[in-house]
Amino acid sequence: MSELAICRYCDTVHRRSEVPRRGTPRCVTCDSPLYHRNNDLGAMLAVTLTATIALVVANGFPLITMSVNGLRTEATLWSAILASYDHELPLVAAALAITLIIAPFIELFLLLWVLVPLRAGARPLGFSTIMRAIHIMRPWRMVEVFLLGLVVAVVKLAGLASTVPGWGAFGIVVLTLALASLASFDTSALWRRADQVRA
């Protein structure tokens, strides 16, 4: 199985040894990207840890601090969610909580769950179920969109009051970069490693 790569858009099966060595590997049938070349699990673990720390920082510190005439207000991730809830928008509060806190936390936790044992040479408990769960969680985290929203909010407020991004915003920036970097790893390397470990 390690030699084969299946296109997830059209099911064409490729031999990895016959995929051109240069450039992005692409499906011969539908031209979609086949897989990423980066399969260093140690680096993947390091980036996952970075992302986890950044997520904790993003959750624990204010995103924006605003002051007008001696009045100071702060917005954290949690206060943004509570504000939606207080305005009788529980669905929006739920969407924010899922896309910004729950989905990234679950994805990073599950990644650590599989990466740590695989690095240590053991097959993680519930490996295939967890890999599927990671795949399902992915589209629902929207940290990078939130970062852009943060930028828009700060610019909009600039005319109203003196606004300063806080440490939480720094956490969001680092988290966005780390998640983007995670997306450039070949997840099928995890499967291959799990097969080696079992053998």
Binding site: Y9, L71, T73, L82, L96, P139, V145, V152, K156
Partner: protein
């Protein structure tokens, strides 16, 4: 049928999402109530062109293109069309990437509502369009997640793909 159901639900929410106010701003003595498009126009009139273009693209252009593109994909797959399978697969990949960026305005409104709470001086409240708008984004995401891109290729023989058997 499932992607079609999600898409129809998204289209149904499209009208309230774009006509109801998204954000209600009180900045004494000014009271503003903005829909997506009037918010963009306001940003433009204030001279924040880049921001206006960004919000316009993420909140208006992307959802419209998404609904149109998904509709086209569903119809062509259902009709077992042999038209541009590579192009249609590419459209689907783009949909997967841009899908969630439309949540931008929801995040902006939630953030502003959280930070701008200065009593009588200024306050920002989320408007009634926030729920249908987030609904459009999430339902179109569900629609594209439940669409199987293999249905573009399933009925195409090797001849139509490579020009040979």
């Amino acid at each position: 049928m499932r992607p079609l159901a999600f898409l129809v639900a998204a289209v149904a929410l499209y009208w309230p999402a774009n006509t109801l106010p998204m954000m209600v701003t009180d900045q004494f003595p000014v009271h503003r109530s903005d829909t997506i498009l009037s918010g963009v126009a306001f940003l433009w009139s204030e001279g924040s062109w880049l921001l206006a273009a960004l919000v316009f693209t993420a909140s208006f252009v992307v959802p419209m293109l998404k609904v149109g593109a998904l509709g086209t994909l569903l119809v062509t797959s259902a009709r077992r069309s042999a038209w541009q399978p590579r192009g249609r697969t590419k459209v689907y990949r783009v949909l997967e990437i841009v899908g969630h960026w439309s949540m931008l305005d929801v995040f902006v409104v939630a953030l502003l509502a959280a930070v701008v709470q200065l009593g009588r001086f200024a306050s920002v409240e989320p408007g009634p369009a926030v729920v249908p708008f987030a609904g459009v984004v999430l339902l179109t995401m569900l629609a594209s997640a439940s669409f199987d891109p293999r249905s573009i290729w399933d009925h195409l023989g090797a001849r139509s793909v490579y020009g040979r058997e």
